[in-house]
């Protein structure tokens, strides 16, 4: 602190930049922040393509918000007009079909990216100290995503919109004492109706931007600790890192374009394959569809819900399944992060992923016979994995000595 500047803190206001950049930076430290966090930010050299799915999910979110704004220009949130206004978008609005199909399919791909992203966190131990908060913010976003997607699916006001909303909101009535009051507040009426679609539209927008806010926290916490990598070992020197730009940006760009080629294929040639044909029938409270199924990305959780024979128990298990995942950083007792060096836990995590897909399949089947039994086994494994296997395997397993980033890359090259 020099005598000419007794208020030492002012030093921080002196921008290293000149010109317009300097003018902005000395008033709003955006330029230095972007440089530190997105240009020079050190990232382990050893990241594989699993690490691209966070960025891909972010692009999906941006795409959803942009298409959502344009849909909002033409959509009318009321029980009488909603379905017709969506058809107007599909038929009469310029490129309306493109915007709507993009919005509908981007959600599915947002979930695909997020599921892979969460699997990455589990497999390579990204949830473990010191990244617990990154993980918790991520799971919170995942729950908001599910809420937003559910609210959004109600808006086209087709048969599945209506009956899906009826079934899912009814879960709240399972809460003792205050359940019915919460349900009425949520629906704005005693059944799903005009008031419901109106407030779901508002909440759909609100939660979408709440997710954006959480992305900021997710990224801030990530940039405090830095990225994990396949070895789970922290970089020991600058030599084991690359700068975010251009190394990670170009790599993520590759992965993103590849991902969007698959999206484009579905979007342009099979735009309705991930949806349900009943949603092209206008909502009718007098006719119940043969099988009420939620969107595919809810199916694992729907399977858990139906696996428990008690309504309240089912609701608790469904919400609990995600909340319990949030305890994993503290329940996993292993000192080693990455499954590459954990011979037993590795198979537990892989089985968890397979179990997730099995539950997804079961969620789409009618709740009867063998499907319920398999759903129960799957649900049992879900909680066993978190509450028993995580502490126990971490304690009993003898992990291999994790390789350093350099040694890992050398061994891969050899």
């Amino acid at each position: 602190m020099s005598s000419s500047d007794p208020q030492g803190y002012k030093k921080t206001l002196n921008s290293p930049y000149t010109g317009f950049k300097g003018w902005i930076d000395s008033r709003l430290p955006l330029v230095r922040m972007m440089e530190a966090e997105y240009l020079k930010f050190p990232v382990p050299k050893s990241l594989n393509y699993f690490w691209s799915f966070g960025g891909i999910a972010m692009f999906c979110l941006i795409g959803l918000i942009l298409t959502g704004i344009f849909l909002g220009f033409h959509y009318k949130p009321s029980a009488d007009d909603a379905f017709d206004s969506v058809e107007r978008i599909m038929r009469d609005v310029s490129f309306g079909w493109l915007i709507r199909y993009l919005h509908a399919n981007l959600v599915s791909f947002f979930f695909i990216a997020t599921f892979i992203h969460i699997f990455r966190a589990l497999y390579f131990g990204s949830y473990k100290a010191p990244r617990e908060l990154v993980y918790i913010f991520g799971l919170t976003m995942f729950m908001l995503m599910m809420a937003t997607a559910f609210l959004g699916y109600t808006l086209p006001w087709g048969q599945m919109s209506y009956w899906g909303a009826t079934v899912i909101t009814n879960l709240f009535s399972a809460i003792p004492v205050i359940g019915d009051a919460i349900l009425t507040l949520l629906l704005g009426d005693f059944t799903v109706g005009d008031a419901t679609v109106n407030r779901f539209y508002v909440l759909h927008w609100l939660l979408a931007f709440a997710i954006v806010g959480l992305v900021v926290f997710h990224v801030i916490t990530l940039h405090m600790t830095g990225s994990n990598n396949p070895t789970g070992s922290e970089p020991q020197s600058w030599d084991e890192t690359v700068s975010f730009h251009p190394y990670v940006t170009i790599k993520d760009l590759n992965a993103t374009i590849f991902f969007f080629i698959i999206l484009a294929f579905i979007l342009f040639y099979y735009p309705n394959i991930l949806g349900h044909s009943d949603n092209y029938i206008k909502a009718n409270p007098m006719v119940t569809p043969a099988h009420i199924v939620p969107e595919w990305y809810f199916l694992p959780f729907y399977a858990i819900l139906r696996a428990i024979p008690d309504k309240l128990g089912g609701v608790l298990a469904m919400f609990g399944s995600i909340l319990a995942l949030g305890l994993l950083p503290w329940l996993d007792t292993s000192k080693v992060r990455s499954c590459l060096f954990r011979p037993v836990w590795r198979y537990c995590v892989l089985l968890f992923a397979i179990n997730f897909l099995v539950l997804m399949y079961m969620g789409g089947k009618p709740a009867e016979g063998i499907y319920v039994l398999i759903s129960r086994i799957g649900t049992a494994y879900w909680f066993l994995f978190i509450f028993v296997l995580a502490p126990l395997v971490g304690f009993l397993e003898t992990p291999r000595q994790p390789l350093s980033i350099s040694n890992y890359l050398r061994s891969k090259k050899a």
């Binding site: 690359v242 040639y269 595919w296």
Partner: protein, 250 residues
Amino acid sequence: MKKLFFILFFLSSFNVFSAGSKIDIPKYDWSWKGFFGTYDRASAQRGLKVYREVCAGCHSMNYLSYRNLSDLGFSEDHIKVIAAENLILDGPNDEGEMFERDGLPSDKFANPYANDKAARAANNGAYPPDLSLIVKARPKGADYVKSLLLGYVDPPKDMTIPNGQHYNKYMAGNLIAMASPLSDGLVDYDDGTQNSMDQMTTDVTTFLAWAAEPSLEDRKRMGFKVILFLVVLFILAYISKQQIWRDVKY
């Protein structure tokens, strides 16, 4: 392992909705299938005739306007004539009266009934669904619609058919309120095409498929361009990535 994960993921999501359908719907070869598929215009035009002469007696198509028929190759004058053949309820006029007038190209397809209740009253309590989206609103789409129209066969001997119901081997539950709407030679085609049952069901299904998804041709054309663009972009990005990462020493 990554690939396996992807494959499992997609497989698991594709078969999700097939639950419960035990009736086998035959597959047909449609003109709009495939990457460059387009609606067979002549077939769809004949299909419109079938719709207007047969289906329109009971089924509305509320999301279609007469002007949309230009997609199927009808001329502006022809569309005016088609529209004018329908009476549209308009008003109220300056005297506060509702009045009927000839249809205009900007009108929606005329509804055969004044309201849903009138539709039910005229059909033994069964509601003839709007056909604008029928091809997208049924699990097997066009294959289902054509099959249903062809599915009126003699019921099994031990089955009693309730009054006002008909046996159809492709309908869920095998009972349908609609009697077989088509029969060989029912609609006269202007272009000399053989008006067999098979031909009429193909034509009307083609028309209904277009009605449900009029943007299909634009979509497929754009899709090809977008994917081509993305593939080129991917190649460039991949070359850039190799170039940039080349100096990263292990």
